[in-house]
């Protein structure tokens, strides 16, 4: 994979990435419609596929919050045309890595030392690139460590990236601009949290200690003295990502065991801790042949407000659904329904009867 020597950090440079994607997408539409003239049966699938590829290319050069946005979209599989989500899934695994000199510079900025001075051995080639950082392998005192280094400029770019990305998202994904506005704030605050490795360090330690009793889960040990705002050091965990793990043909029993660990992990976080590792994509779980699983990356943690929790999970109880008034009240609390719309000719009952 080709290393990047710099990340486009100025707003203009980043904006031009989006313009590039926009122009390409426009071209795809022209291509689509001229093909369609010749072959009216042509499905929109192909168009979606072309669009997704071009958007992905532009976003992956950008890294940072735009790439994170790609991840968000790919999580909502099923709400998007399949062609989009297939392509965006790639964002969860790899993006072009940063060059060695930039990595060393980051260490010097935050520790005043080079990686070689801090660790017994430090692999300057990243083993894995993530959305807002990349992972290096290192050794110290005989321990194998994973060191996450954040891409420079990411934190500063979050807000401006989202602003630039918004019109593109509105247009391409056929989402309502108002809906997007409403969620932008939430996404922005979460993304800013994710760029704060000090916060992630504290949360990682807190949640992994709280969940330590759950069977089959393995959490790495974190090293505050080797971590900073932009660098996070933890034990190296072995294991395979979901797709690679499935290629090893694990037995049904092992798959059930790992599935159970996943369920228990979320059950405990949501209902007991009321804060949750809100980034459950395959890149954050390392599965092993003995049925245990490593959990990494507490960058994105959603604290669930009590009011929301109570209403959301009341809906989950089958008894609630048999009580239309209660259901409607909860829907209003959750802001699914707003009073004027509710009055419109039995809107809710029509939606629910679609089920």
């Amino acid at each position: 994979m080709k290393s990047q020597t710099s990340v486009p950090t100025t707003k203009v440079a980043r904006a031009s990435q989006f313009v590039k994607a926009g122009v390409k997408v426009g071209g795809n539409y022209i291509k689509h419609y001229s093909k369609k003239l010749l072959d009216p049966s042509l499905s929109k699938d192909e168009l979606h596929k072309d669009n997704a590829a071009d958007i992905y290319d532009a976003l992956s050069e950008l890294k940072g919050s735009a790439l994170k946005m790609a991840q968000m979209l790919s999580m909502d599989r099923g709400l998007l045309p399949v062609a989009y989500s297939d392509k965006f899934t790639m964002a969860q695994y790899s993006a072009p890595p940063l060059s060695g000199p930039l990595v060393v510079k980051t260490f010097k900025t935050y520790f005043g030392k080079t990686p070689a001075q801090l660790f017994d051995k430090f692999d300057i080639q990243a083993v894995n690139a993530a959305s807002i950082g990349q992972v290096h392998l290192a050794w110290k005192n005989g321990k194998k460590l994973a060191v996450k280094v954040q891409y420079p400029g990411v934190a500063d770019a979050v807000s401006s990236d989202l602003k630039i990305a918004k019109p593109l998202a509105v247009r391409l994904l056929n989402l309502n601009e108002r809906d997007i506005d409403r969620y932008m704030g939430e996404v922005e605050s979460k993304l800013l949290e994710e760029t704060d490795y000090d916060l992630e360090l504290r949360r990682s330690i807190d949640i992994s200690q709280a969940c330590a009793h759950i069977p089959d889960l393995v959490f790495p040990k974190y090293y505050p003295e080797l971590s900073s705002k932009r660098i996070l050091t933890m034990d190296w965990l072995d294991g395979l990502h979901l797709k690679e793990f499935l290629k090893t043909n694990p037995t049904q029993e092992i798959r059930n065991r790992i599935g159970q660990a996943l369920w228990d992990f979320y059950d405990f976080q949501i209902h007991t801790l009321r804060q949750v590792h809100a980034d459950p994509h395959p890149g954050n779980f390392l599965m092993r042949p003995d049925g245990t699983m490593g959990v990494i990356d507490f960058g994105c943690v959603k604290v669930i407000p009590d009011f929301y929790y109570d209403n959301y999970f009341r809906l989950v109880n089958p008894d609630t659904l048999e009580d239309p008034e209660l259901t409607e009240e909860i829907f209003e609390n959750l802001e699914f329904l707003t009073p004027p719309i509710r009055q419109q000719n039995g809107y809710f009952s029509r939606i629910s009867s679609k089920k």
Binding site: E186, L242, L262
Partner: protein
Amino acid sequence: MTLMLAEPFAVDSFDFGDDSYFTKVYAFAEGLANVQELKNSKVARGSQDGLYVNRTYYGLYAMLNELKARVTTTKPEWLRSKKELV
């Protein structure tokens, strides 16, 4: 959507390998996306707190589906139907 996601909670053990469940969820989502009232609505729908909570469940279910795992869906007692007890 939430109603569909609640299905595994209604039973003690759920087979996430059951693709028919996921097909149903996706079909339902697609149906919702085509409801004109939703699309043209002047108000955004769903609390912003739901964004990450729903995303979390999507991600979790999608992974369990790929794993084809059958899990015991442990849950707090108050989420159970009282009727089961009778």
